[in-house]
Structure formats: C-alpha cells, structure tokens
C-alpha cells in the first residue's frame, strides 16, 4: 500500500486495489494478454513467414481469396462445437451432419430444378438443426454422456447418407451456376462464404459474451450440478447448444457443396475431430466453462492455413499432420501452464491482502 493510501480514511475493504490504468487501457491489456491473442499471433507469424518466402501467398488475388475461403467450413463447425464444449459436452456427429446436408443440397437442385438458393440454404440449416435436436434430446432426456450419443449418431447419420447416396455423386453440372458462383463470389475482395461464416461467428460470440443465455452456458459448463441447484434450465440450454451446433453443421454442408461443387457420400468424414481440435487450439477447455468462440474460430483458421503454408515453408506435405498434432498438444500444455500461473497469482494476491 502506498503512503497516501494509509493516510486516507478506510472507507471500504477492497479485495484488490483499484487499477490505476484507464478503463480503455485495461481493456486493451486484457485483449493483448488474452489466450486468443497468443493464437492469433501464431496465425500471423505463419502467414507472415509464408508470405516472406513466397509473396504471392498473401498478395495474389487468388491466394487472398483462398486464405479466407478455405477455412470457412471448419470455422462454422468450430463455432458450433465450441458452444457445445463450453457446456461440458461434445458433438462428434458434425461431420456426418455436414455430409448429409451437403448431399441434400445437391439432391434438392437435381429434384427441383429452379429452386431458390436461399430456400436450399434454409433447408440445410433446418435439417442440421433437427439432427442436432435429436442429439440434444437424447443427451438431455436420456441422461447419457454426449460423447456416446454423438458417436452413435455419427454412425447413424453417416449411414443415412451412405444408404441414400450410394455410389451417386453430385457434380458441379448438377447444380445451378448461380449457386456455384456463391462459392467464389467476392464483395470488396472478401469471399461471400467467409462473410457468412463471419456473421455467424460475430452473432454467436456476441450472444455468448453478453446475453443471459450465453452466460448460463458457461455456468452450466463450469458446474452442471451447481447450475441445476441455482435454478438454471440446464436441459433446455444444453439442447439448444446441440441444435445450434447441428444447424451450423447443416449450413456448413451447404457451404461445402457451394465451395467444392462435387459431393459424394463421404463428404466431411473425420472433420469432427478437426473441429474439436480447432476448439482446443483456440483455448476452450475440453471440460467446459471457459474459452470463447473467437479463439475457436482463430484455431480453425490456423489449422487450415498451416496446412497451406507448410509446403511453402519447405516442409513436405506429408509432415503437415504431425505438425498439427504437435500444435494441438502444445496448445493444451500452454493452457495448463497459463492456468497454473493464474491460479498461483490469485493465491498470492489473496495472501498479500
């Protein structure tokens, strides 16, 4: 305590001394020191390194577009997955949901020529939401761990696509050019699909940060039993998290069809683990209660970008996956270290006061 503070009459017992910094300065510090900033820094370093080596990685029109376009699908999945993981659940079925709605998109265009593109987009979203609702109801009312349920629905949903599609494949020629243009169209050089993903990200991020429902998701993830005792509608919130994750995976399926033009029955196989990996890299605790969708989104962009940057940096394609694995592990080790340090600081400041 400073000398002036001891002379002043004690009016209240503050746990922590009020910060001498201005609120704006404090907000700036919080952002810079945040977990998201560290992962963003890694992303910037990767892009910068690749650009220094091959300037066209960043500066050519096509590369700039791919840089934003390619991560859009994983970004959508990661946002939904982050919300589910924050509630201390997990959704492994997103890859199968993506496959189902991607095939549905193609099917709609083939069976109903001239169908409105928006209608197809909404259909994908709604079918995804329905599949998510099934997950959520089984988890919420079946009182069964989500890992088991969504592993089951991963197989069921994928089985439905496989049975439905068989060896059929949706080709670019089956879909109207207006729809495929959405996959490549840009507004102010920013791809439309990336803008869609960004709007979703901002909406979900704002909701989680400010809305009561969003804060309740964190409370549920920190301690489900306490949330129940506190009177939160745990079941309803968890179900809505799964509905959101399903809906975003459904939307990602439509985006997949627009982006790649061809859809076979194995579209999106195995992408669920990438989505979980993006969330973990982005600093969301796997047992819920902390982390942000901003981090998960940056994690998704980093995962995709690193795969494109490594060959430029002279690392052969084949070693990319090993590096991604090492990245995931270092991200969780980093979280561990940061958490331990924060806990130590809190204990010290308590003991000093």
């Amino acid at each position: 305590m400073s000398a002036t503070a001891t002379e002043a009459p004690e009016t209240h017992d503050a746990l922590v001394e009020p910060s001498s910094l201005s609120p704006r300065r404090r907000a700036f510090n919080n952002i810079v020191k945040s977990r998201e900033a560290s992962i963003l820094l890694v992303l910037v370093v990767v892009i910068a390194a690749a650009t220094v080596k091959t300037p066209s990685f960043f500066f050519s029109g096509n590369s700039w577009r791919d840089l934003l376009l390619t991560p859009s699908i994983l970004l959508l999945l990661a946002v939904g997955e982050a919300v589910v993981i924050i509630t201390r659940n997990v959704d492994l079925s997103v890859g199968s949901v993506l496959g189902l709605t991607a095939y549905l998109t193609g099917r709609l265009f083939i069976d109903h020529p001239g169908i409105n593109i928006m209608v197809v987009g909404v259909a994908g979203l709604l079918v995804g939401a329905l599949l998510g609702l099934i997950n959520g109801v089984l988890v919420g009312w079946g009182k069964v761990p989500s890992l088991v349920i969504t592993l089951g629905t991963l197989y069921i949903y994928r089985g439905i696509v496989l049975t439905w599609a068989g060896s059929n494949r949706i080709n670019a020629s089956d879909m109207p050019s207006g729809f495929l243009d959405v996959g490549t169209k840009q507004i102010l050089t920013i791809p439309v699909l990336f803008i869609v993903a960004l709007v979703v990200l901002v909406a979900v991020g704002y909701y989680l940060h400010t809305a009561r429902g969003g804060r309740e998701l964190y409370a549920i993830g920190s301690d489900p039993d306490a949330a129940e005792l506190y009177g939160l509608r745990v079941r309803r919130r968890v179900v809505s998290a799964f509905v959101l994750s399903g809906a975003l995976a459904g939307l990602a399926g439509v985006v997949f069809a627009a982006r790649y033009g061809t859809v076979s029955s194995d579209a999106g196989t195995g992408i669920e683990l990438q989505a979980v990996a993006a969330v973990v890299i982005g600093g969301v605790a796997i047992f819920g209660g902390s982390g942000t969708v901003w981090g998960a989104a940056i994690g998704a962009v980093l995962l995709v970008t690193i795969n494109r940057a490594l060959p430029i940096l002279g690392i052969p394609d084949f070693w990319q996956q090993a590096l991604v694995g090492a990245l995931i592990i270092s991200a969780i080790v980093l979280d561990r270290v940061l958490n331990a340090r924060r806990a130590r600081h809190l204990i010290e400041s308590r003991d000093n006061s």
Partner: protein, 350 residues
C-alpha cells in the same frame, strides 16, 4: 431381529449374474448368432467364421486395453494412428532388409513409446485425455504418413502373409485367435482378479478416494496407456501382414469403432464400471451383424446405422430402466435416487 449379512441385503445371486449389462449383450449376441445360423445362407460355413474373426481381430485386440483405460475414466483416441504408425514401421524396416520378427519387435517398442507419451501427458502433466489423444491422433498419424508418404510397401514374404490368414487346424478359426485369447485372459486377470484391477475401478469411481486408499493413480494410468500403445502396435503388425500392405493411412477411423464396441459392451464412459466379457461380446456382435448382413446382400452402408442404433439404444435403455425403477421407488416411498445431471465427457477435475 437377527443380524443379516451384507450379501442378504443385495439382490439374489442369480439376478446379479443374469440381470446386468454384460449378460444382456451376451444374450443379444447369442440370439443374433442363432438367428443367423438358421436364416442366413452360408453363415454356418467355416470361411464365414474365418473372415468374421479376421475382420474384427484388430478391434477385438485394441478393445481389451481400451476397456481398462475407459474404466479409469480416461479415453485413448490415438489407437488407430498407432496401428498406422506400426504398420508403416514394419513396412519401412522390411524394405530396408530387416527380418519381419525384428521389424515387428521395433514396431511394438514404438507403440509402447506412443502409449508412454499419452500416459505421461495425461497422468503426470495432468492434461485431459480426450484433448491429448486428439493431438496424438494427428501426431502419430502424421509421423506414419510422413515416413512413407503416399507409397505403400506390399512385397511382404508370402510365408508371413499366409501365416496371418492361416487357420487353426480345421476349425475355421484364424491363427490370430490364439494371441487374442492369451491377451484376453491376461487382461481379464489384470482387471477383474488383481489388486491393480481393483485400483483401476477405484480410479474410475472416485480418483480422490483411490489416492487416499493408496492407489498409485499416475503409475496405473501410465501403464494402461502404454499397454494400449503396445497392443495397438501389435494389431498394426497383424493388419499389415493380413492385408500384405503397409500404408500411412491404414486403419484410419478405427478408434471410433473400438470405442463404440467398448461402450456397447456395457463400459461406462464415466469410468468405474464394465467387464471384459461384455466388451468382447460387443465387438463380436458388431462383427456378426456385419457379416450376416453382407451374406444376405445388404449393402455395407446399413451396418453403420445398426451400429449407431445399438450404441444409442444400449445407453438410453439403461437410463430408461433407471427412470422406471426410480418412479417405482418413489411410488413405494422407499426413497429416491439423487438426480443425475447430464454431463459430457467425464467428471474428472480439470
């Protein structure tokens, strides 16, 4: 009133033996096998049995140590990548002129090291196994793909590839049954008939209580992850020789099949509950259904749906039964169960 022993308070022995998850899975397996024997053409042939066992052998093998890991409340998603890595190592070392047995031993050691990496990060650094093994899933698979690229090693000596497919006498059972049975007995003894195994259940039920009752939680988890790596590597050697091909992407996605089978066999994802008999029946159930459907000309696709439904139904039925007995108990005013809140991946402390 005369004193009654603890056992007299519990359900009668026959009910405890017959009315549990393991018995239910075994019963379903027996019913499906009988149905298939009577109604599916060629199901009773020896060749069907051979291919059935060959197909599920990697899952059967890996499910053994995976059961122990899941009983402690942890999970290992990296097993399929260890299979791939061990397959690639056998291929590369064979290409370099090494004999198959020596290459296999080196692959097994590599599997042990992979398991030790998982175990160290989970048990000693204290990281959640779900996150760690998603990381090592990518890492080990990446090493496998990095070492061999998109190439494949296929020139394995005929003698060894024949051995992997050889039958035990005229029984129709493939040779891999022998090492599997030995491992199954060893793991059953370890889990269900040893102090170490009681410790495994203790950790799954309540880690803190296990620590206070003298269980070395860290050492136990490390050993279990190492065993999982070792057995996965063995499954990788078998996989390579059976298909006569070493590729970086061998057995991709097998981890989810193994976990689905283990959970189907009645092991709780929260840990503390489950028996090997149920797990083995669960793997065989999936194998028998796939094989019978294929013989009837049903496309392989429908098998996915059936596995998924079995998995969901098997867990949901448990909570429905619990709910029914809960309502019954409330009606007779004999007390209620504490409310269960749905939680996701595990109840371990962060």
């Amino acid at each position: 009133m005369t004193t009654r022993t603890y056992l007299e308070y519990s359900r009668p022995l026959w009910r405890r033996l017959l009315l549990n998850r393991e018995a239910a899975v075994i019963a379903v397996l027996v019913i499906v096998v009988l149905y298939a024997l009577m109604n599916v053409q060629y199901f009773n042939s020896k060749l069907t049995l051979t291919f059935l066992v060959l197909d599920v052998a990697p899952i059967l093998l890996i499910a053994l140590p995976m059961t122990l890991v899941i009983v402690t409340g942890e999970i290992d998603l990296s097993v399929a990548s260890v299979v791939g890595l061990s397959s690639v190592l056998v291929g590369i070392l064979h290409q370099g002129g090494m004999s198959i047995p020596l290459a296999a031993v080196i692959a097994l050691i590599a599997g042990l090291v992979c398991g030790a990496v998982n175990g160290y990060l989970v048990a000693f650094v204290g990281l959640p196994s779900l996150a760690v093994t998603i990381g090592t899933l990518a890492l080990f698979r990446g090493l496998a793909v990095g070492l061999l690229g998109t190439k494949a090693v296929t020139d394995f000596p005929q003698g060894w590839t024949d051995l992997a497919k050889a039958q035990l006498g005229g029984t129709g059972l493939p040779l891999i049954t022998l090492p599997f049975l030995v491992l199954a007995v060893l793991f059953a003894l370890l889990l269900q008939f040893s102090a170490f195994g009681r410790g495994i259940y203790d950790i799954g039920l309540n880690t803190e209580a296990a620590v206070f009752s003298g269980v070395d939680v860290r050492r136990t988890k490390l050993i279990l992850f190492m065993l999982t790596g070792l057995v996965s590597a063995f499954a990788g050697v078998f996989y390579t020789l059976r298909f006569g091909s070493a590729r970086g992407d061998n057995a991709t996605g097998l981890e989810l099949q193994v976990i689905a089978a283990v959970l189907l066999g009645g092991v709780s994802i929260f840990g503390g509950r489950g028996k090997l008999a149920g797990v083995i029946a669960g793997v065989l159930l999936i194998g028998v259904i796939s094989s019978a459907l294929r013989l009837q000309g049903v496309t392989v696709n429908i098998i996915n749906i059936i596995i998924g439904f079995l998995l969901v139904a098997s867990v949901v039925s448990t909570s429905v039964l619990a709910w029914v007995s809960d309502v019954a108990a409330r009606r007779t005013r004999q007390g209620t169960r504490p409310p269960q809140t749905p939680v996701g991946v595990g109840t371990q402390e962060r």
